[in-house]
């Protein structure tokens, strides 16, 4: 566990933590948790190592384990703690204890210090990388710390809360003058959260180039973009920031976006990575994000981020477009935004990824000859003609995605929706009902949520 630590609390587990306050009915209450780990060797913005701890499981105590409890204390049998440690060490997870202060503040007491030091000592002897302690106070405030030695705990002050509502609890935060009009709408607290989000953008094409400048003007400080294509003349009808000379100079799309950000001078730190999101060289940067906008039109990248959101508890907001001219008189013009957060069905369950296409795209990248061979034998679907694209629709799709994120933080339209489909041709918006397939690893199986680093990465072939 290297460098700065932060915690990601996924909605379902945060709800479980909060439920302890009611369960205790005014008396203190305790429980266990397991956290997955995301080890980041190289944070894209600081270039330092850091570690994120992601809530994975909440484990309530048996009533029979509770010895005594009052509004000032809770005492419980620790046999179950040994079982927790066994499970944590065999599965590579970090064990945690949770308790409530129904009448007090979210500050650890002297009693907590003594009690936890003892549990931490055993946890470390058993081979756990540390013991996390989560404390929730009656007013809903949450404090987290970790014992990596039995002597002294470390406070973890940055918490990313993910689910249909998004939030960041942190001490840092900047007050940006140019955001005055925005603060008037959303208020200082929500606005501070917006500026704290570390945003990833997978794909710097039509929608990605629309998302990036919006994030910049919303006050986002840290952004990372994944894109490896160069500007072509057929991009100029929709690629924000691109100039004719960029095509002549055969410039990378990421260089164009870096120029846009630097010329604006609004203080956004954009890191660009010349690779497809999903390539091993992008894993560290993806793990460093608080939200990822999936602005790619490829199925392979989408398939990857679909699992990634689940394993790392990082919200992915996916944008898709489908446009065609049906006949001389009519059009089909769709933009879709899907939010991948705990309790929302995934892109596979929604039928928004074609796994066969994803397989073919990956083959085309990794082994163009084998791909061509299969194509010649008519075993692949192939790419077909390029799909139509018009700047107003691609830009609006980018706006929809960013607004979905904003409502996640501010609640201006309630929580984020699972999937919305705007039908430009029908001037309406649809909210299709989608259900998770039972045991779907990307949206239903409990063992994948917040699992963090495992081998193989995401438990899939990458």
């Amino acid at each position: 566990m290297k460098g700065m630590l932060d915690v990601i609390l996924a909605g379902p587990q945060e709800a479980d933590i909060r439920s302890l306050l009611t369960q205790g009915a005014g008396a203190e209450r305790s429980a266990y948790m397991l956290f997955g780990q995301a080890a980041i060797e190289n944070d894209p913005w600081t270039e330092k190592a850091r570690t994120r701890l992601i809530s994975h499981r909440f484990l309530n105590l048996d009533d029979t384990d509770v010895v005594s409890t009052s509004e000032r204390h809770v005492t419980w049998q620790t046999d179950s703690f040994m079982r927790l440690l066994g499970r944590a060490t065999s599965e590579g997870l970090v064990p945690a204890i949770v308790h409530t202060h129904p009448k007090g503040r979210a500050r650890f007491s002297k009693q907590d210090d003594r009690n936890e030091a003892e549990l931490a000592r055993t946890a470390l002897i058993k081979g756990a990388p540390g013991l996390i302690s989560v404390l929730i106070a009656g007013d809903g405030e949450i404090a987290v710390r970790i014992w990596r030695t039995a002597d002294k705990p470390t406070d973890i002050t940055r918490i990313l809360h993910t689910g249909p509502r998004l939030a960041i609890t942190a001490k840092d935060g900047s007050d940006l003058d140019f955001l005055d009009r925005q603060t008037r709408l959303f208020g200082a607290q929500a606005n501070a959260m917006i500026t704290r989000f570390r945003c990833g953008i997978a794909g710097g094409g039509a929608t990605g180039s629309a998302v990036l400048p919006q994030l910049m003007r919303l006050g986002v400080r840290q952004t990372v973009m994944f894109e490896r294509d160069r500007a072509e003349d057929t991009n100029l009808n929709r690629l924000h920031g691109a100039r004719l000379e960029d095509v002549v100079a055969d410039r990378l799309k990421t260089d164009i976006h870096a120029r846009t950000v630097s010329e604006a001078g609004l203080g956004m730190f954009l890191v660009t990575i010349d690779a497809w999101a999903g390539d091993p060289s992008t894993w560290d940067a993806l793990k460093s994000c608080d939200v990822i906008f999936c602005c790619t039109d490829d199925h392979a990248g989408r398939l990857f981020l679909n699992r990634f959101a689940r394993f790392y508890g990082i919200a992915v907001i996916d944008v898709g477009l489908a446009m065609q001219r049906r006949d001389d008189q009519s059009f089909d013009l769709f933009a879709r935004v899907t939010t991948l957060v705990p309790r929302h069905p995934c892109l596979l369950c929604g039928g928004f990824i074609n796994p066969q296409r994803a397989r073919e795209e990956a083959l085309r990248r990794n082994d163009p000859r084998a791909y061509q061979k299969l194509k010649d034998e008519a075993y692949v679907l192939g790419e077909g003609d390029p799909s139509p694209a018009v700047v107003t629709f691609t830009t609006e799709a980018g706006c929809m995605a960013v607004n979905e994120w904003l409502t996640g933080i501010t609640g201006f339209a309630g929580p984020m929706t699972q999937t919305r489909i705007r039908r430009f041709h029908a001037r309406d918006e649809r909210f299709p009902k989608i259900s998770s397939r039972p045991r779907c690893p990307s949206c239903d199986a409990a063992e994948t949520l917040g699992r963090g680093d495992i081998t193989p990465f995401l438990d899939m072939v990458t």
Binding site: T89, A300, P355, A358, R359, E377, S442, T455, D459
Partner: protein, 283 residues
């Protein structure tokens, strides 16, 4: 542990049967087995044996009057143990015995005849199992040391194969190998038994290429080695193409996958499809 500076003396770590290592220092670089036993307090000397523990965990007996050189063999660890008893233990379901109280992980592996990608674990009653490294020395005389369990090493194949496939293959007794070549991941199911009397051979290796995105993406087709012909001598339908992978030429079975449930199906499903395809093969 070579002598330092101008100190002419030669240190060696000698363990008794309880595996307590103690440092002894000899003036002479060459010592007799007898001297090592005496140094460890082994009594009577002729009922004991001194065993050099090599860095890889291998054991090498030192006879009573054999002179042993303490310089530069990397074997400055010696075990002294009685020779008059046998110690019984089990590896998985195999009953074994060993004429010494102590045994190394390396020797245990040799006795168990473990493939390279397996690890050995020691079962400790009431506790979690302990993984045995080659250089570990285990005291068979200690209470409760009776059983060792072999387990396929998660890291070897674990790099590429999703966990539920690992479990399926191991639970169902498949012999398999994962090979990555030119960025492609392939799994070879070894010596799969073919439908009786159907083909020119009774068993074949079957290769499945796992695409990027597997298990959300379906594997397509499978490959056989050696090339299979029906008992009639004819080549089965849609099996005429070839593929080179892992240094072999494979026969491609062009059987496609239309009902894959992403992330739910895995090699379990694929194995069933392969068996069906082999069963139903026609010219």
């Amino acid at each position: 542990m070579k002598p330092q500076g101008n100190d002419p003396r030669f240190p060696v770590l000698i363990a008794d049967e309880g595996l307590n290592f103690k440092k002894h220092v000899f003036d002479d670089p060459k010592v007799l087995g007898r001297q090592l036993i005496e140094a460890a307090g082994g009594h009577p000397v002729d009922e004991h044996v001194a065993i050099a523990i090599l860095p890889n965990g291998d054991f090498e007996d030192i006879r009573l009057d054999e002179s042993y050189d303490l310089r530069g063999r990397g074997a400055e660890k010696v075990l002294v143990t009685r020779t008059d008893r046998v110690f019984k233990f089990r590896i998985d379901d195999k009953d074994l015995e060993w004429p010494r109280a102590c045994i190394s992980g390396f020797v245990l592996r040799k006795l168990a005849d473990l493939p390279a990608n397996y690890n050995l674990w020691q079962e400790i009653p009431g506790q979690q199992d302990r993984k045995i490294a080659d250089s570990d020395v285990i005291n068979l005389d200690a209470k409760g040391v009776e059983r060792f369990i072999s387990l396929i090493d998660q890291t070897t194949e674990g790099d590429t194969l999703p966990s539920f496939d690992q479990t399926f293959l191991v639970d169902h007794g498949y012999q398999f190998e994962v090979i990555q070549e030119a960025g492609k991941t392939g799994i070879i199911l070894k010596s799969l038994v073919l439908p009786e009397g159907k083909f020119n051979v009774e068993t074949a290796d079957i290769l499945v290429l796992l695409p990027t995105g597997y298990p959300d993406c379906a594997p397509d087709m499978f490959y056989a080695s050696p090339h299979l012909t029906l008992a009639s001598g004819q080549v089965p339908k849609a099996c005429s193409a070839q593929l080179s992978h892992a240094g072999r030429v494979w026969q491609r079975w062009s059987r496609h996958n239309n009902a894959w449930r992403p992330g739910v199906d895995g090699l379990r499903t694929m194995a069933a499809r392969i068996k069906t395809a082999l069963m139903e093969a026609r010219a």
